[in-house]
Symmetry: C2
């Protein structure tokens, strides 16, 4: 009944955010779905288990998790990025999402989207779909086929968007419930997804909050991405103390695990709210924030206050469906913020990697680290450029994160199995 | 004797910086090495010329030019980027460049470096080699083999670097002269290359300036990349008014065409110097400047003052040997600068493209545009993802710049010929 195996290679991961753990030419032992331990020499008790030796050119790292990604925006990556948020939504994004009322269109886009998640080594993700359940189901089916793990949310909107993307509060709520019933397996789960406060009335937010509480479902939405948006929310919800409080008021903030994408422009009060709530993840999407001229999250400030900061590619405002790109952009953006805000420290590469693996993984449970009893989710990396063999294992990882393409990923493991 | 042909596809380029010229389903006629014109219908006089039809999925754009790239740093891309400039030079770059005293090492690195230029569609570039002429010759040979165009400089240093990278002023000068004699053809030319002021004594700078003047050779070096570096130059050259003036004093500033990489921290006086000199190119290397926490060039300020701003990948401090990445990073970085300096406008995508093609091209002559009498340097782009065919031609270009890999480049033309 036991299913124990060992992989051999240079094993690299982060246990704490400040340093990479590097185990050169070592074995990682996996019992069924989970990590048993890492060993320089294989202990006698494992002498008869099967060993896969990936050779001295390979590094073995935790696979990536993307905490904020819009599946319908796959084809929109890189398009129309001379605009800012609100104009970009109106001129490109909503028009594009309307196309998903046609299931045949979803059947064209979603398989390629899911293939790209797989190719890029993003084996788990938290996904915004659209309001259209028939198309949303296509997305779930494709994720299942590729054996990827995800939270997928039916998007909810009942105001301030084109009519064909709006549903009544009641209809949006009922459709959310019926979509939830379509989920059947452990790896793919539902998540409550109000698009963002400006697109939802209090009535809709209240219904979604109740549903999240009753069914113990996590929540994903957007928060404080753009200064104009923050002002807009203030005018739409004058009774709320701040933007975070809009969600809080309707039980959509930190009662269950909650992903708040962007979170750039938070008041001190909102920062305190986030730091006092272990269910709250502020999701940093650096490329998206650059592309839409939104700003740069003060990520090290947040981390140093004990806030959980996750990372997301946020395609299509982000232009690369790649967590290595997101990791290195997070580091770059933090350096650029430091240039203008000298008092804020710079994010190191190991920290950004820790966010994309350990922190992002914690949204899914014991995921993202190679410590004992974690699910063994991993990528085996071997750069096709033979010159890379001049580099030390940690340099191979740096090179992969900054420069290599998904061609370097030669094997993908999810919960102990090759997928 | 005539060698006239036409290519068909969606032809896109920039004539002025503010807009893309888009010629859907059109013909570009090439006579020998140069552009004749672009036509929606082929005129009768061309009815018998050969036509290559790349189909309605292809876009045809000017090929890329990289105005600042360090060939020996190829293997260093992405490595050690938690450091700032001076520390990064000392801990990684100089150590790495020392390896090129071994010609066999150059024989391993340079072919791959040149292959990557070719793959990425960078058909012309201005390259820093190392101090080692035997290895530098390998680089020239490889460029010749791949039929690429370049300016290549032997690096000059006689102080403030590890001993094995220093030569006496006399030796450095003589070696530069002897390297120049090794150049034999039109496409590959020499360029005078003092590394940067801190690594050169006045004596060496003076010799190089004289050589540039006498042989009418262009110059490439670094300028005002990092605040500490600017202070250092001030202490090393107390008699010069400012950093630019160090080069000016020794005839290395704008007497011949001059590439000044980075140029982030310029005084008003230096900005005026650059804007009054048509030979001066300030070369923006956004990724490098982010990775080394250097800062962000005020690129739109410079452009609006009439300064020639070029673009460079600056590997290995830049982490992508790709001009599309450099173009989109320049746009992103300008947006991020705008967030902190609201009074400065944002660089548009067409402007960044114009810099990487028209401005960069002008360093090589009539290059970088598809206007009449320009050398026909071009890339044919066809994204392997069939979904991209839903996009309009200009959106295909946006997608390529932001998202696609070099796999999308299906043909490369330099001076009218497929290479």
């Amino acid at each position: 009944m036991t299913n124990i195996k060992a992989l051999k290679g240079h094993i690299i991961y982060t246990k704490v955010k400040d340093t990479f753990e590097v185990h050169e030419n070592s074995y990682i032992v996996i019992d069924n779905k989970k990590v048993v331990g890492i060993f320089k020499e294989l202990p006698d008790i494992y002498k008869d288990i099967s060993i896969i030796d990936y050779g001295h050119n390979a590094i073995i790292i935790p696979s990536f998790i993307d905490l904020h990604i819009h599946a319908p925006q796959y084809l929109q990556m890189g398009i129309g990025l001379d605009l800012e948020l609100i104009e970009w939504l109106q001129q490109y994004t909503y028009r594009n999402e309307s196309l998903f009322s046609d299931v045949d269109y979803a059947k064209k886009i979603y398989p390629t989207f899911v293939d790209n998640l797989y190719n890029e080594g993003t084996l788990r993700s938290c996904i915004f779909a659209t309001i259209h359940n028939e198309s949303n189901k296509i997305l779930l089916d494709e994720l299942k086929k590729k054996k990827l793990s995800a939270y997928v949310g039916k998007v909810n909107m009942n105001q301030n968007a084109p009519n064909d993307l709006l549903q009544s509060a009641e209809c949006s709520y009922e459709e959310t419930k019926s979509f939830i019933d379509y989920f059947t397996e452990d790896l793919i789960k539902p998540i409550i997804t109000p698009r963002f406060a400006p697109c939802c009335t209090s009535e809709l937010l209240a219904k979604l909050g109740k549903l999240s509480m009753k069914q113990e479902l996590p929540v994903q939405t957007h928060l404080a991405e753009n200064k104009k948006e923050v002002e807009w929310v203030k005018s739409l919800f004058p009774d709320s103390k701040n933007y975070s409080d809009v969600y809080k008021k309707y039980n959509l903030y930190g009662n269950q695990k909650t992903l708040l994408a962007h979170s750039i422009y938070l008041s001190d009060e909102e920062v305190a709210m986030a730091s006092n709530n272990d269910n709250v993840y502020l999701v940093h999407c650096p490329d998206s924030n650059g592309n839409l001229t939104s700003g740069i999250m003060p990520v090290t400030n947040y981390l140093d206050k004990g806030i959980k900061v996750g990372l997301g590619s946020d395609i299509g405002a982000g232009h690369k469906m790649s967590m290595p790109s997101t990791i290195t952009s997070a580091v770059q953006y933090s350096k650029l913020r430091h240039v203008f805000r000298n008092e804020e420290r710079v994010l190191s590469l190991s920290e950004a990697f820790y966010l994309a693996t350990n922190v992002n993984g914690s949204f899914f449970g014991k995921v993202g680290s190679f410590e004992k009893d974690n699910f063994f989710d991993a990528l085996v990396i071997r750069d096709p450029d033979p010159l890379v063999n001049y580099l030390k294992p940690i340099e191979k990882l740096q090179r992969f994160l900054y420069n290599a393409s998904s061609n370097s990923i030669v094997e993908r493991y999810l919960e102990g199995e090759i997928i």
